[in-house]
């Protein structure tokens, strides 16, 4: 085993994560290698110093100081919510304006529909409506025909062409 591998096993051993076989191999290496023994002593010293920084007593009255801050933040939450959503609402509002504007812009074109299209939309019988239209024309046509007929009677007879 080389020293690099031994260092890996050494750290696992200090962590308590080394199985029996590897532990035996490491012990054998440490016995023969003063550099790794020195590394082991250094690591152990380093870890004990690191652990010493763990047990620091916190400052007193932590909860008493935290409580008003929690209350304050909770009161602020609706405002923050509104602030966040009002920012997000701007693009939505703009999109709505564009949509409504677009609808109004294109709407007149949509209203200029043919008579048959209107009838279709209103779900009315196309043929009966057409018939009705023809019938509606009839008195007018009849009047016109009478008018032309009376005009023909008043005009002098045509002379035959030489």
């Amino acid at each position: 085993m080389n020293c690099r591998k031994a260092e890996k096993l050494l750290l696992r051993s200090i962590d308590g994560r080394l199985d029996g076989r590897d532990a035996a191999l490491l012990a054998k290496h440490l016995e023969a290698c003063p550099a790794c023994r020195k590394a082991e002593a250094q690591y152990r010293s380093m870890f004990s110093l690191l652990k010493a920084g763990r047990d620091a007593a916190p400052l007193p009255r932590f909860w008493e100081r935290l409580q008003p801050r929690l209350r304050e933040e909770t009161e602020l939450v609706p405002l923050l919510f509104w602030e966040r959503w009002s920012l997000r609402a701007i693009p939505v509002f703009l999109a709505l304006v564009i949509l409504i504007g677009g609808f109004h812009f294109f709407a007149p074109q949509a209203r200029e529909m043919s008579q048959s299209a209107t009838l279709l939309i209103e779900n009315r019988d196309l043929f009966s409506e057409t018939q009705a239209l023809f019938e509606a024309d009839k008195p007018e046509t009849r009047t016109m025909m009478l008018l032309f007929a009376s005009m023909d009677e008043k005009s002098p007879a045509r002379r035959p062409t030489p």
Binding site: E7, K8, L11, R17, P34, R37, K38, A39, A41, Q42, Y43, S45, M46, F47, L49, L50, K51, A52, G53, R54, D55, A56, A57, P58, L59, F62, W63, R65, L66, Q67, R69, L70, E73, T74, V77
Partner: protein, 194 residues
């Protein structure tokens, strides 16, 4: 009362339940903040902010992980943000380390020993702070806070293999830097030599 029940009650708006959770985790969160900042006031402030964040985020906690893991994740991220803002990520060079010499001025052997230990502790902490962030975080969580590998893996969202290799590298870096100041084989203190 069980922790899950406390969390549920806190989510429903019970201040007493949240207070119990704060009492349980406050020493750990404070200790973690202190390991990173080495300043009690700053650590206390950070711990308060972490609990504020956790309180506001409680409705989004669905219990997919342990409450402690979730809280540690908030703590680590908040402390990292704080350190980034403070620009503490700079490397600590040997020139930054206060000179430690133990002369005859120390009256008693005990006082000298205490001073030596304290000096070494400060030194180690300063070197930890000088590590690149990804190594500093992992060393703090494992070797200072003593969290399990699995917990670190969950908190940092890293694979166990990455945690293992990163920790190994961090420890090697730290030992290399600290070697002249650590106790050598046989218990001799290299600090007091020379």
């Amino acid at each position: 009362m069980e922790e899950k029940q406390l969390v549920r009650l806190a989510q429903e708006g019970s201040p007493a339940a949240f207070e119990e959770l704060v009492t349980k985790y406050q020493p750990k969160v404070f200790s973690m903040a202190l390991s990173f900042t080495r300043n009690r006031e700053a650590a206390d402030d950070l711990a308060q902010e972490v609990f504020l964040k956790a309180y506001l985020a409680l409705p989004r906690f669905h219990g997919r992980s342990e409450f402690g893991t979730w809280l540690y994740r908030i703590s680590v991220n908040h402390i990292k943000d704080y350190l980034r803002k403070k620009g503490r990520a700079k490397e600590v060079s040997l020139d930054d380390v206060p000179e430690i010499s133990f002369s005859d001025r120390e009256r008693t052997e005990k006082a000298q020993l205490e001073r030596e230990t304290e000096a070494r502790r400060t030194l180690v902490q300063r070197f930890v702070q000088g590590l690149p962030e990804k190594y500093r975080v992992i060393v703090t969580l494992r070797d200072i806070q003593g969290l399990a590998y699995e917990d670190i893996s969950r908190i940092l969202r890293l694979s166990p293999g990455t945690v293992d290799s990163r920790l190994h590298r961090a420890r090697r870096m730290l030992r290399t830097k600290l070697a002249p100041y650590l106790i050598a084989e046989g218990g001799a203190n290299e600090l007091s030599q020379g």
